[in-house]
Amino acid sequence: MANNTNSKAAKPEKRSLVSPVVAAVASLILPGLGQMLARRFRRGLIVFASVASITGLIWWLFVDLSRSAQGIGLMLTKSLRRAPGFVILVLVGLVVLWLLNVWDAYRETQTRHRADPTVFILIGIVFFVLGWQISQIDPVTAVVELPDAWPPLSKVLWPWEAAFERDTDVLAASADILTPCDDEPPPEAPEKVEGEPYMVASPTCGDLTELDENNQPVLGTTLHLSASGFAPNTETFIFWIDPIGQEFRIRQEGAYISVMTEADGTFEYDVTMPYRLTPPSAEGRQIHEIEARQITEVGGLKPSEPLRLTMARMVETIFLGMMATIFGIILAIPVSFLAARNMMSGSFLSIALYYLSRTVLNIIRSIEPLIWALIAVVWVGLGPFAGIIALTIHSVASLGKLYSEAIESIDPGPIEAIQATGATRLQTIVYAVIPQMIPPFVSFSIYRWDINVRMSTVIGLVGGGGIGFLLVQYIKLLDYRAAGIAVWFIAITVAILDNVSSEIRQRFI
């Protein structure tokens, strides 16, 4: 390919084994074969492997799309119906690729030619199309669903209304209403207590609103409410409470009703008895209740429960990350000496130990902390301790590797120089080894702390404690405001940590 043109002068061009037409026919039968015969073995192999895997993938996708229809024809028509764009695109792509491969084989037999990447570009494009289908990319849904997703999303983006709340005080007074009226005396008006809210209804018995055969409402009795002892100039809501204790706000002409109290805390109001579906068993004499309620906020703003929980979990998260980092550092220091070549180049045993520890570290490191957390949850149960175990294991592996590389790259010169002054071994370590170790050590440890706090925000997703745990719960409860608070806290904490850690690292380097 490219180096063929460059190295033409240096070594004789490899001549094709076959004529262009033979190569083309060979590639038509088996893609890549012609290129191989033209002694472009690697090119041929790549073309063959690509076309083969593309064909295989297309087959698999068609089987999947046609829900395992029998017969190629049926399979094709079914697939075409379900994803016409994709099927046409990918089939055209395959055919063009096949033909291009034939043309490519034809060209490759010629000794003098420029490197031609067309086949590979097309292979890339076809793989892109396949990838699009396999990973179920669907921008249409993303756009169409956006308006529906906006309300919860906006709550996540700006959740702060739910971050603070005030204590509330409820002022309420109620009166019993009998339905229907009968010979017995209707309920008495409640006793009036000075300083307490008070309300009387008249009459104290009547009929509920009902529906006739045509589902038209037949209005019930109008009750005149007169109340006193409420907070002045405050909105007051009227509730209806049925005999089985269910309460709801009364609506009239579709709107919830409410009254403003007068300056002296009284109000007068007429209410039509609402429609209530009463179970047949409750036929007959029933005592309902009508209630006027004022909800007033008292005192200053205070953090809401989601905010308080989030803060508590955030603190837990930061410490989770911190503890995992500390344990990680403590365990990684001895491990890193085992994994440093210049420390272990003595005997056969130490070299074996070096390779062993390297291998183990690499294996542990290649398993994500989230998976370690799943294992740790099985081991010690849900909670931050499982998270600490998971992050510690991963930290030991990655810090062990980083530290050991730092040890390997230590400059032996200063060690020699300090030894030459007649210093003891301990003095040599303090004056020549430690100063060289501090910058990478601090830098890697801070970096790890940074990673660990980040990781601990998600380790809760699998039950490893920390804020992630809370976040999943809020999302499951559809409490997007609370979830938003948690998300914001994660973002703020990680941003602060980022700055702090880069600041510290700069100081030490």
Binding site: D411, G413, P414, E416, A417, I418, Q419, A420, T421, G422, A423, T424, L426, Q427, V430, Y431, A432, P435, Q436, I438, P439
Partner: protein
Amino acid sequence: MLEIRNLTKIYDDGTVALKNVSFTVEQGEFLIIIGLSGSGKSTLLRCINRLIDPTEGQIIWDGVDITAAESAELRTVRRQIGMIFQHFNLVKRSSVMTNVLAGRLGYADPWQSLWHRFSPQDRELAIKALGRVGISDQANKRADELSGGQQQRVGIARALMQEPRMILADEPVASLDPVLAHTILGDLDQLNKEGMTILCSLHYLDLVQRYASRVIGLKDGEIVYRGSRADIRAMTDEQFKQVYGAEAIRVAAGLEGSLG
């Protein structure tokens, strides 16, 4: 007097770096060791203060067998021998002052010094040593902030802190430009005039001619040349190259080049 007797060094991998090397150095000599790269110059110098343990042979210094010295005794020997390196071997992140004070570790209280505590006398000595090499004003900088020539002077000041009777210099000017090479060797020459024994490996013929009181040439770990001051002065470039190989160059040529 330093006496090297039948010194042989075979490295673990089987490389024979020194073969049966014997010579003596009188107190106050400026002995220059020449030889091709890989001829064993560094190995020889490092054997003298036991940074490398020789395989065979003896090194006797004023009646003390350095080859037999262990732990405390070895440290006492080492602290009387200053060493200067091609790449200075300073602790780059430590201050110049700390680097210089480190030269005093062989004398300092082993525990106090771990917390970087040195006696006022030691600190005074460090200031004097820096003054002597002309960089007192750099004391509080980090070592890696200095120029190459300044760093080598810190190296010399560190060696001086040992109040040594002998200085080993392993290609002390190889990574410096010719002008600096002269000034650094001038510093060593001054010390030599005050009675210090100096063993130094060098590459440049005119530096050798100018500063050496005696020369030995190594080739494949063996001494192939011994010459007095007069012998060296009489040496032509051709003879020098025979010992040295084609790599040998005169600093003067480089000097003219660098001064334009």
